[in-house]
């Protein structure tokens, strides 16, 4: 009996400790800043393209008039301020304002306020343009939602550049932040759910089992942007691509957490999504999925690759300090052999 009680005690304490470390360990906002820059650019591009046919998609005489889309949404909570806009001039003014917000998000100017506005604008467009949406819009909204939670403007932003100017160049690297960690963790968890269900739903389809699904995708003329039908001579390659896709998606949620398998999982995401981008004509969707995957890239690596200035500052400061990170109150020390799902990012203990 004592053993059983001890087991449950240990289970409870380790679960709580793991939960605390997973969500409440401060992290360097570098990865979040990079995602803001890229997702902001994607949001700007997505909405710039609406500009080319704005009234056809959002106007009263467009493909999706309020009288038709409205009833489909009337028992739902899919709000959008665009429902209220009747005048074409107001529609254009609202759209222009939206583009400015997305441009500011991309640049990282007034990032905190702008990231909140960007999310609500993204949802408003998606809830209004029912019938013309696809995966791109889902991932755009996913990223926009989490960008407003963390300090997404604390790195790779005009905000940061202005702060550095005000400090005459003597600005310390952005402080690690719990909210940056929560935002990154939410993107990570959400990406796992996306891939898990993308993989599980494929298991219902015979072509994902008989190895021909990839052929059906590549042989679809309406999607095709690069003719890959020559692969018909290589059925084994098509079968391998089909099975690897399903296995990768189903196992992503498990294999992306252990540090040994994470690089393999993330590197495999690149050919998969670039394949969708360049062979199936969905460059935007392929890229935005890769932006989501960036949440699994360590801030140290992001800084090493894109922020030479902070890297140099960090190296010179390294000689001056050895102060340990302050653990959250009530947070237990990491036990030996901690769960792979509670990997800690950004907490650097000497």
């Amino acid at each position: 009996m004592k053993t059983v009680v001890a087991y449950f005690r240990e289970l409870a304490s380790q679960t709580l400790g793991g939960w605390n470390r997973f969500w409440f360990t401060p992290t360097d906002p570098a990865t979040l800043g990079l995602i803001r820059l890229l997702a902001g650019a994607m949001l700007l591009y997505t909405h710039l393209v609406w500009t080319l046919d704005l009234e056809a998609f959002f106007g009263p005489d467009g493909w999706l008039p309020k009288s038709i889309v409205g009833p489909l949404r009337e028992d739902q909570f899919a709000w959008s301020y665009l429902w209220l806009i009747e005048s074409r001039w107001l529609l254009w003014a609202a759209h222009l304002a939206a583009l400015v917000v997305f441009a500011m998000l991309c640049l990282g100017l007034f990032s905190r306020a702008v990231s909140v506005a960007a999310y609500f604008i993204t949802v408003a467009y998606a809830n209004r343009a029912v019938g013309s949406l696809f995966g791109l819009d889902q991932i755009n909204a996913l990223l926009a939602m989490y960008l407003m939670i963390g300090p997404s403007g604390a790195a790779f932003s005009v905000d940061r550049w202005l702060a550095r100017r005000r400090a005459h160049g003597a600005l310390a690297p952005a402080a690690p932040s719990v909210s940056a960690n929560i935002a990154i963790r939410l993107i990570q968890v959400h990406m796992c759910i996306v891939y898990l269900f993308a993989g599980l739903s494929k298991l219902q389809g015979p072509s994902w089992w008989d190895g021909t699904a990839m052929w059906i995708a590549l042989g679809n003329l309406e999607y095709q942007s690069l003719d890959m039908t020559w692969l018909v001579n290589w059925p084994m390659v098509i079968a391998v691509l089909t099975h690897v896709t399903v296995f990768w998606e189903v196992s992503y949620a498990a294999l992306v957490w252990p540090r040994l398998t994470r690089p393999i999982v993330i590197v495999l995401a690149v050919p998969l999504h670039l394949g969708i981008a360049f062979c199936l004509g969905m460059v935007t969707f392929g890229l935005v999925m890769l932006f989501g995957n960036l949440a699994f890239v360590s801030p140290s690596l992001v800084r090493a690759m894109f922020d030479r200035r902070s890297t140099r500052a960090a190296m010179s400061a390294a000689a001056e300090t050895t102060a340990p990170a302050r653990p959250p109150r009530g947070m237990r020390a990491r036990p030996t052999g901690a769960s792979v799902t509670s990997s800690v990012r950004g907490q650097r203990t000497p």
Partner: protein, 203 residues
């Protein structure tokens, strides 16, 4: 050369210590606030799970969870199944239209159209219009008819036409054996059409 760092033991050693120093400046929520945040996170993650879990066919449990979380999922635009190319990639759908112009001339067109819809994202928006039309259930018929009528009215106004007839075109994918025998992806035998209706312009 870029070295891939591990979770909390970066192999880029010089970066480690400064970040530790910086971590001392970080604000960390107290236990009570952490409990509140944890409850919100648990609810949010459960909701994220319920979205794709509630795509038919569903269980009684999934239906119950959906009813509880639907307002949040819909308002936050999180009500997605993430069934990309699932359960199977299938044939694509287009809309072919025949316009009767005011001067009696007849014109024909199809959307989406790579020549007219540029850039690719705009093409994809038009493509999703036709795929969405196909995805609407047969019952109630008013739903699909409503969308078809909306598309028709837009085409009539855009082309200043008197009448338009719409057809939903299904484009099947040839089997590998057929392609090996020389069949093109655009072979007319791969298309199947269904009349959506004929619509006059309403002012």
């Amino acid at each position: 050369m870029v070295v891939w760092p591990v979770d909390n033991k970066s192999v880029i050693e010089p970066l480690v210590k400064p970040e530790s120093a910086a971590a001392t400046r970080a604000w960390i929520p107290g236990p009570r606030l952490r409990i509140v945040i944890s409850v919100v996170l648990l609810l949010h993650i459960t909701a994220l799970w319920v979205g794709p879990f509630s795509v038919p066919p569903t269980s009684v449990l999934a239906d119950g969870l959906w009813r509880f979380f639907a307002p949040y999922l819909q308002a936050a635009y999180l009500n997605h199944g993430y069934h990309f190319f699932a359960p199977e990639p299938g044939p694509s759908h287009l809309v072919r239209y025949e316009l009767a112009m005011r001067d009696g001339v007849r014109r024909e067109g199809t959307f989406p159209n790579l020549k007219e819809n540029w850039p690719r994202l705009l093409y994809h928006r038009h493509f999703m219009l036709t795929e969405f039309l196909n995805s609407l259930p047969d019952e109630p018929r008013t739903l699909r008819e409503g969308y078809a009528r909306a598309y028709a009215q837009h085409l009539l106004k855009e082309h200043d036409a008197r009448r338009v007839t719409l057809y939903l075109r299904r484009h099947y994918i040839p089997r590998p054996r057929e392609v090996l025998e020389g069949m093109k992806l655009s072979n007319p035998a791969l298309y199947e059409e269904r009349l959506l209706g004929s619509f006059a312009r309403t002012e």
